[in-house]
């Protein structure tokens, strides 16, 4: 008889554990509008992801202080993807199935973003990505649920190539990071350089964590280019800039929008001077004329961000997140109340696709069924670093 007692005890425990389900069963409609956010605040993309998260935190405070969205408080559920695409996909599923969010903003990096396209498409939830690769929103016929806010690498590259063409540069070398960001730049530079009459005489790469690019630059020197384009984020680009100075290379260095933050200037020190890059207008907002529709938004964002986070400088990466959340908020403001989760997600998606002339930090956006980036031309500025400050090359 005593044997059965133990079996009974164990079975009761098992039943109790299963019964827990009954206690935490799913609720009805929630008051708050829940939006999911996936950014990499640690790992390789941490200095992109952190300003993105900080921007979102700031916006949630502002929106809720102003009464929320049509009276609904805004709640952002944030998970750190650690720059890991597999983790990102798992977290996306978590946001969709456990947290029941209505939309997802982010992720920060292209591999992560590409990795969740299937997940959000199968789950039928809109995703406004903050990553660079144009493949995230093309082909549009297969990206019904996915949008993005940062400029595509192609536009940034073309801006630089166009500038070079205007300055009679015909032979260049490119040096890129082996990671997704650098590989994207390398691909687009190789395919588009010819359109601007430019030949690439040397094509070198380096690892994201490498501490010296001198060997690659030595090789590049041997091919006698007239300029170098470096496609990487701030730390690696700073080392490239510094190594070029050490090797006493006098040709100009052009960089990607990956250096559009104060960190690059701090890291490169003197070597930052003379570097030219293309980025959104946030960095040179003081020089933007009052006639530019973006002037007010940029100034406001910069002031708000630097007030809330003293000691930090607003960066274009935070701007990507600003635009992503803003568009979701606009969409949420237009959907009717009382929808269930699935219908709400569809409604939000439809509203995002109808956004017209949204003046954001990264640019002015008009989405459409055939364009899920929607950025109007004129959103990029050619910027040169002079005496440790950004100046606009008009």
């Amino acid at each position: 008889m005593r044997n059965y007692l133990k079996y009974a005890v164990v079975l009761v425990l098992v039943a109790a554990l299963l019964a827990l389900g009954g206690i935490s069963c799913s609720k009805g409609e929630k008051e708050a509008y829940k939006v999911g956010a996936l950014f990499s605040t640690t790992g390789a993309n941490s200095n992109l992801g952190l300003p993105e998260k900080e921007t979102v935190d700031m916006m949630v405070e502002q929106i809720n202080a102003a009464g929320g969205i049509n009276g609904h408080p805004l709640e952002v559920v944030f998970y750190n993807t650690e720059t890991d695409p597999a983790k990102c996909a798992t977290l996306a599923t978590k946001l969709i199935e456990q947290d029941n969010v209505l939309a997802i903003i982010g992720p920060t990096g292209s591999p992560e973003s590409l990795g969740i396209i299937d997940t959000v498409t199968t789950a039928k939830i809109p995703n406004v990505s903050c990553a660079a690769n144009i493949g995230i929103v093309t082909p549009v016929s297969e990206r019904y649920w996915v949008f993005k806010t940062p400029q595509a690498d192609k536009e940034v590259a073309d801006e630089i190539l166009r500038y070079m063409q205007q300055h009679d540069i015909t032979k260049i070398a490119i040096i890129t990071d082996v990671n997704a960001f650098g590989a994207g730049g390398k691909a687009v530079l190789n395919s588009d350089a010819g359109n601007y009459g430019i030949t690439i005489v040397a094509d070198q790469t380096f690892g994201s964590d490498d501490t010296s690019m001198q060997s690659q630059l030595t090789y590049i020197e041997g091919k006698h280019p007239e300029a170098v384009i470096c496609w990487a984020t701030d730390k690696a680009s700073a080392i490239v800039a510094q190594d070029m100075k050490t090797l006493q290379m006098t040709i100009p260095l052009f960089c990607s929008h990956g250096i559009a933050n104060q960190a690059f200037i701090n890291e490169a020190g003197d070597a930052a001077n003379g570097v030219i890059f293309a980025a959104g207008k946030l960095l040179i907002v003081d020089e933007v004329p009052a006639t530019d529709p973006q002037k007010d938004v940029l100034t406001q964002y910069k002031t708000d961000y630097e007030t809330k986070y003293p000691g930090k400088t607003a960066s274009t990466f935070g701007g990507h997140a600003y635009d992503a959340l803003s568009m979701v908020v606009i969409a949420l403001g237009k959907i009717p109340g009382g929808l269930d989760t699935a219908a709400a997600r569809q409604a939000v998606r439809d509203q995002i696709e109808q956004i017209h002339n949204y003046v954001g930090i990264s640019g002015v956006f008009t989405m459409s069924p055939t364009d899920h980036l929607g950025m109007q031309p004129g959103s990029l500025a050619m910027i040169k670093i002079v005496d440790g400050k950004w100046t606009w090359l008009k």
Binding site: R2, N3, K6, Y7, V10, L11, L13, V14, L17, L18, L20, G21, G22, I23, S24, C25, S26, T41, T42, Y79, N80, T83, D84, P85, A86, K87, A89, T90, T93, K94, E97, Q98, S110, P111, L114, G115, I116, I117, D118, T119, N133, G135, V178, N179, A180, A183, G184
Partner: protein
């Protein structure tokens, strides 16, 4: 080393665990952890192979993620790019990974001690670079997406629910097969090798051959896990198979305990639950706490979780018995 389960209590516990696992995805509350359970299952399969490899050859493998990645990418490339049946792709991947392990096994095992550790590290590094650079096949640093689901006839494994049972079917199969190996002649030979290679040689055991066989087995397990991984996530990228990934696998194996294959469940389980559920709540402090936990677990449970849990279980049983009740 694993004693027979003599007491009825052990059967009760196992029955309870089995019931719980089968019912997990049905339960309203626990079903949200189905995806977590899938990952635990996948990583357990890799960890079992690593436990056998490290436990019986006494070597640290710092590149096990290489085999995991080879299986993953071959499955992905064959099934997505070339439209091969996913099951066939998984089989081909396992064979190719095993063959690869066989080829590099002999030269690698000529190195001893820390040279061998470095060779495994080099292996992991080289494969990671290849996954990243052979972009024509692998999609480069952006990876590949749109990998098809596994299916049997018309039954497609397109929900977490279905994949949970699929993955754990494989996982249990791997565990039982490994348990059999451990108890067989092969297992005894391996234990002899672990004790003393020279002595084993002297009684006619071909030490090198056994080591290579275990390497091949661990590679095949890792490959199967890799295939299951890509057919679950439908996406693969090189970042999943870098040096840190191999280190995490070693941590899983040691935390679970190298002495027993069942330790792999605990190692993989504890690590994934920590990183995927618990540590999320701590923001920037997550890896600080993770490091602290690792250190403490190794100080207080140097043989691994499984051995320590068995000890506790045994002690409870003895305490219970001393109270005069027959278990």
């Amino acid at each position: 080393m694993l004693s027979r389960l003599k007491s009825k209590w052990s059967y009760v516990v196992i029955a309870a665990l089995l019931t719980l696992s089968i019912l997990l995805p049905f339960d309203w509350f626990l079903s949200q952890y189905t995806t977590l359970a899938i990952f635990i299952g996948i990583y357990t399969i890799v960890t079992v192979g690593l436990c056998l490899l490290m436990g019986y050859t006494g070597q640290v493998s710092l590149g096990q993620a290489a085999f995991f990645g080879i299986g993953a990418y071959i499955s992905a490339i064959l099934s997505k790019t070339y439209g091969v049946n996913p099951w066939l792709a998984m089989l081909i991947a396992a064979i190719m990974t095993g063959a690869f392990a066989y080829i590099i096994g002999y030269p690698i095992f000529r190195l001893k001690g820390n040279y061998l550790a470095m060779a495994t590290l080099g292996l992991g590094l080289i494969m990671w670079i290849l996954f990243r650079e052979l972009s024509h096949f692998t999609g480069g640093p952006d990876g590949m997406s749109g990998i098809p689901y596994l299916s049997i006839g018309g039954f497609v494994f397109n929900t977490s629910f279905r994949r949970y049972f699929l993955v754990w079917f494989f996982c249990l199969a791997v565990l039982l097969i490994s348990q059999n190996i451990v108890r067989s002649r092969v297992g005894r030979a391996l234990r002899a090798i672990h004790g003393s290679e020279a002595a084993s040689e002297s009684i006619g055991i071909n030490v090198e051959q056994f080591k290579v066989k275990i390497l091949v087995l661990s590679a095949v397990y890792a490959s199967i896990a890799g295939s299951l991984f890509v057919h679950h996530l439908r996406f693969v990228s090189p970042g999943t198979f870098d040096f840190l990934a191999s280190v995490k696998l070693v941590v899983m194996a040691v935390i679970g305990g190298l002495a027993s294959v069942w330790g792999a469940i605990f190692g993989a389980g504890a690590t994934r639950i920590l990183s995927d559920e618990i540590l999320l709540r701590f923001g920037q402090w997550d890896i600080v706490i993770y490091g602290l936990i690792l250190v403490l677990v190794m100080i207080f449970m140097p043989e691994g979780l499984f051995v320590r849990l068995k000890e506790i279980f045994e002690r409870l049983r003895l305490m219970y018995r001393q109270r005069g009740v027959e278990p």
